[in-house]
Symmetry: C2
């Protein structure tokens, strides 16, 4: 299992890039989990059974024939998350800049790159050229996917 | 990690029993996951980023400092679920009758017991006595918790 981070400031286009990359990567048969970082989020709707149970202080999962949800107090320790969900081929993180994993950086302006220089930068996505990096536009998803596939297979 | 199922027909009081048991069991320092079986459920709200990503065909997790949610196509294979979430002390399932795990059966009427006779029955919860089983009322949570604690520690 390998971890790739898609990092960049808010509204730079991280989610859009991910949703465009997924269908291409899935065509290669890769089992992918996307882990999104959030400041806060609602776990469930008040009054539902799963909400009632979660609020007694335990973690909850809901399983149906084809879906499974897990709502917990696990938090955002990426290494812990990866050790639990190690049955995926690739874990793509949206955010988690500080975990310093191999990454693709999505920028609105070239100088923002300074905030994302930890971990190996596979590529930069920006409308303007960013010196010293392979730079792509947001619509060059096939080229970006190719870089990810090379990265995934080269070190296996 | 041990698995205990709370089984019984719909509306028999399974969720209520679980929400009453949890605070008692948590007092013993047990790390508990409740897995609820559902015919179907909504994974997320349309339009949200996590929903957009899930609908591209991949599994999604959302992590914040103190919460973690995982929305996937894992399905309802209990043994698979337990193998992933084996870092809990007890996995309490609501439903999953057919998995034949050790269980507490919640009944509205004594003769319903016939539908839940697979796996070891630790106790029965019913307003009327159920012949051949230790029977408790829904408000005897301390007694039921004691049975669960004995079951948990006896075979460790």
């Amino acid at each position: 299992m390998k971890v790739l981070s898609i990092v960049g400031h808010s509204k730079a286009g991280k989610t859009t890039l991910i949703t465009k990359l997924i269908p291409i990567l899935k065509n290669y048969g890769l089992k992918i989990l996307v882990v999104k970082h959030a400041l806060d989020f609602e776990v469930d709707r008040e009054g539902k059974d799963s909400w009632r149970i979660f609020n007694t202080g335990v973690d909850v999962a809901i399983a149906s024939k084809d879906k499974f949800a897990f709502i917990s107090r696990l938090g955002d320790d990426l290494d812990e998350i990866c050790s639990i969900f190690n049955f995926y081929d690739i874990i793509i993180t949206e955010g988690f800049n500080r975990a310093c994993k191999d990454r693709i950086v999505v920028l609105r302006e070239p100088d923002e790159i300074e905030n994302f220089k930890c971990g190996k930068i596979l590529a930069v996505v920006c409308d303007k050229d960013v010196e010293g990096f392979r730079t792509f536009k947001l619509n060059q998803v096939n080229e970006i996917a190719k870089i990810i596939l090379n990265w995934f297979y080269e070190e296996l």
